[in-house]
């Protein structure tokens, strides 16, 4: 693992590297070099298997984190490439030419996070949702409970009591 990283540092600017466990590491790459870096990892280092591609919404820092998790089938190690992209007009270069399955991931990210991947096939087609009109649901600022309660008629007749409050009401209402 260490040698791979050292190798990588010769060619690319790897911002930070964090070894999570023996066979799993995460590094941060900038948006511009990411696709080149991933291509390099796939073609020269042997990370042939794209395990997953997903996003994390760091709404406080106003960016999305894209995680490309790559697996090395021979060395049995995983490397996560983290790319931070701005939440405003979120857009990332597509990698559908590297892995066929990436287009599914990118379609999903487009729909659930609103991250665009220009050039990815069918990326604008609805994937999971149908007739969705709100902000992309996996974004942190979308409140699913509130949406559900306002849309789907929860069955009435439920009420609960907080034990402490209730005991106050019963035992010492005036204090």
């Amino acid at each position: 693992m260490q040698t791979i990283i050292e190798n990588l540092q010769k060619h690319f600017q790897v911002v930070s590297y964090h070894q999570q466990r023996e066979n799993l590491g995460f590094l941060i790459a900038s948006k511009e070099v990411a696709v080149g870096l991933i291509t390099h990892l796939r073609d020269y280092e042997g990370f042939a298997h794209l395990v997953l591609l997903t996003a994390v919404d760091w709404i406080e820092d106003e960016h999305f984190q894209l995680t490309y998790l790559l697996h090395h089938p021979e060395k049995k190690v995983d490397l996560g490439v983290r790319v931070m992209i701005s939440r405003e007009n979120a857009e990332m270069y597509s990698i559908h030419h590297l892995w066929e399955q990436a287009r599914t991931y990118q379609r999903e990210l487009r729909e659930m996070f609103g991250i665009n991947f220009p050039g990815s096939p069918d990326v604008d087609k609805p994937f999971i949702l149908e007739g969705w009109e709100e902000i992309p649901p996996y974004r942190r600022d979308f409140d699913t409970k509130e949406y559900s309660e306002k849309t789907y008629f929860p069955r009435p007749g439920r009420e609960t009591h907080d034990p402490a409050e209730y005991m106050k009401k019963k035992l010492y209402p005036n204090e």
């Binding site: 034990p163 402490a164 005991m167 010492y172 005036n174």
Partner: protein, 598 residues
């Protein structure tokens, strides 16, 4: 050939045609496995309505609702969980986390209904066919706990180290320990009602977990201006009802409170509590006695902008907290930390001022807009058995006060203490320390009317006293103190069978046959205290309404029948610190109301 085989071998399927079908004959009455997670059962008498099941349920399937026949009382919210089977997923986490182990799942699983609103019920309270099922999912054993039932152990001085000096025994929690202990809390809030001051216990424990001790201190001061003190010597009624304590050790709420207070430096209190500037109202209140109720009242009055003056008979503030509680339990510097903060809010204190002697109550009334009296119980009660008037028979409160004041305390080689309360333990252990210092060995014997299991003293006090080589021999009623001239020979006792009658009234029964004699050089009585109302003039006493037992009657605002006089603390309710604090707080609010209305 393989091809022919491929054509023929599938027909082997037909051999099954003659076999008996494996179908379950009567699937409607088939019982599920022993551990099956079926419908809920609740032992409603065990359940305390703590709501932990509700808070762990990710489906919001559980509501806490009042149930007929279940009363709200200390340690029982009177609520019971109602399960919505339109939400439940039968994960059983509610069973795993149930603090009383009252909740369980039966292995019944069939519930069919036409009306979707029927799928809600209070297990245990509404009769269901599976209520008597033995089988079903219960909380597993073998180290399976969702929260720790074991209390984080507290560092204490070893008995050998502590029995010579008055150094504080309990060391207090470190950060890790406190956070671990705070982590055990299930945030049910059952304790809040039991705490006389109704402190925000779950909130300040949460503050510890979040490592936000400033917030913790703010929560403490909302209801309790003496956290250092309470964090050490509170009778912690809250811990007796702690829901975690039903199966496991209760949370050490007291030590956690102490941890918050300890960790916040005194000089930053004002900043943390945002009391650097107060809005004065220009009104003045006199407070008699600087015990917990007096200090508490002073604190909240000061926060409300009243100018408070405390009149204290003794040369130091704190009342019973200073003069009744030995230093090894409550070091003076910690006592001073709390008191000094209250004084820093602009509260004035006048020492060595005895009401009735140096200044009368009527004069106070003229100088101040209202008066609060928290004079406490400072007169030791006597057993009144023959021999109690002997000079070598002492009162515990007097001795304790003398120890603090630095007066010379008579210490003999062989001492017997009568009493089973915390004061008895205090005097036992204090005298034991003095014996050790003086004679190099301890020979203390403490006896009480109550047998061991109903002794009013805290358990750990008894245990620690024994660790310090004092003998505790409870369950004996004193008959006579044998004296010989100016010397005491010892104490004659008989076996006490029961202390209270069936109406919980004090009516001890003795077995005269079983007798014992405790030889002693000195006897200390510690069977309770009474109040000293000598500072009230006779004509004033006549204006005050008293109850038949001689206590001053107060209303909910702790206002006496004389409208400018408020009273609280041990003399009204007690005796313990936390009641005093609560009284002081309420009285302060009563005074505020009274003065705002005026």
């Amino acid at each position: 050939m393989t091809k022919l085989n491929d054509i023929l071998s599938p027909f082997t399927a037909w051999k099954h045609v003659v076999r008996e079908p494996v179908t379950i004959k009567d699937p409607l009455n088939r019982e599920a496995a022993d551990r099956y997670r079926g419908f809920h059962k609740n032992d409603i008498s065990e359940c305390i309505g703590c709501g932990t099941c509700e808070s762990i349920c990710q489906n919001a399937a559980i509501d806490l609702v009042p149930v007929d026949g279940v009363e709200t009382k200390d340690g029982d919210s009177g609520l019971r969980p109602r399960v919505d089977y339109g939400r439940c997923c039968w994960c059983g986490l509610c069973v795993d986390v149930c603090t009383t182990n009252s909740l369980s799942l039966s292995n019944e699983y069939t519930w069919v209904d036409e009306d979707p609103d029927n799928f809600r019920f209070v297990p245990g309270a509404e009769n269901k066919s599976w209520d008597n099922r033995e089988k079903g999912y219960k909380k597993p054993g073998n180290g399976y706990e969702l929260y720790s039932p074991v209390r984080e152990s507290m560092e204490e001085l070893e008995p050998e180290q502590r029995d010579q000096s008055f150094i504080e025994i309990v060391q207090g929690y470190s950060k890790e320990q406190a956070e671990k202990e705070a982590d055990r809390c299930v945030e049910c809030g059952i304790c809040v009602a039991t705490c006389p001051a109704h402190m925000g216990i779950p909130e300040y424990i949460k503050a510890i977990r979040n490592d936000d001790l400033n917030e913790g201190l703010r929560v403490l001061y909302d209801t309790n201006p003496l956290p250092e003190i309470c964090g050490r010597i509170c009778t912690h009624k809250c811990e007796t009802v702690c829901s975690v304590g039903h199966h496991g050790d209760p949370l050490s709420i007291r030590w956690l409170k102490r941890y918050i207070a300890d960790q916040n430096p005194a000089e930053e209190y004002k900043k943390i509590l945002n009391t650097e500037t107060l809005q004065p109202t220009g009104k003045k209140v006199a407070i008699i006695g600087s015990g917990p109720s007096g200090l508490s009242a002073a604190h909240y009055l000061a926060l409300m902008g009243y100018q408070c003056t405390i009149y204290e008979k003794l040369p130091a503030a704190g009342g019973m907290m200073r003069f009744g509680i030995p230093e090894y339990r409550l070091p003076y510097d910690q006592l001073d930390k709390d008191i000094n903060y209250i004084l820093s809010l602009g509260v004035e204190i006048k020492y060595n001022m005895t009401i009735g002697k140096d200044i009368t109550l009527e004069e106070l009334n003229k100088q101040y807009d209202a008066v609060f009296s928290g004079t406490g119980l400072h007169m030791g009660r006597s057993t009144r058995v023959p021999g109690t008037d002997h000079p070598e028979v002492y009162q515990a409160v007097d001795l304790l006060r003398d120890i603090v004041l630095g007066n010379e305390v008579p210490v003999k080689e062989k001492i017997v203490v009568i009493g089973g309360g915390n004061v008895a333990m205090d005097i036992t252990r204090s005298l034991a320390r003095l014996q050790k210092q003086k004679f190099g060995k301890v020979d203390m014997l403490t006896t009480s009317l109550e047998s061991e299991d109903i002794m009013p003293a805290d358990r750990e006090e008894v245990i620690e006293a024994r660790e310090e080589n004092a003998v505790i021999d409870p369950g004996w009623g004193p008959v006579e103190i044998e004296t010989e001239g100016d010397k005491v020979k010892g104490l004659h006792v008989v076996k006490c069978l029961s202390v209270f009658d069936e109406n919980r009234r004090f009516a001890p029964k003795f077995d005269e046959e079983q007798k014992k004699f405790f030889p002693a050089d000195m006897v200390v009585e510690s069977i309770g205290q009474g109040m000293d109302l000598s500072y009230l003039s006779e004509e004033f006493k006549e204006q005050l309404k008293m109850d038949p037992r001689g206590r001053i009657l107060v209303n909910d605002d702790f206002q006496t029948s004389v409208d400018w006089l408020f009273a609280g603390g041990d003399m009204i309710q007690g005796p313990d610190v936390i009641h005093g604090i609560a009284n002081g707080h309420k009285a302060a609010m009563g005074i505020d109301k009274y003065l705002s209305d005026k």
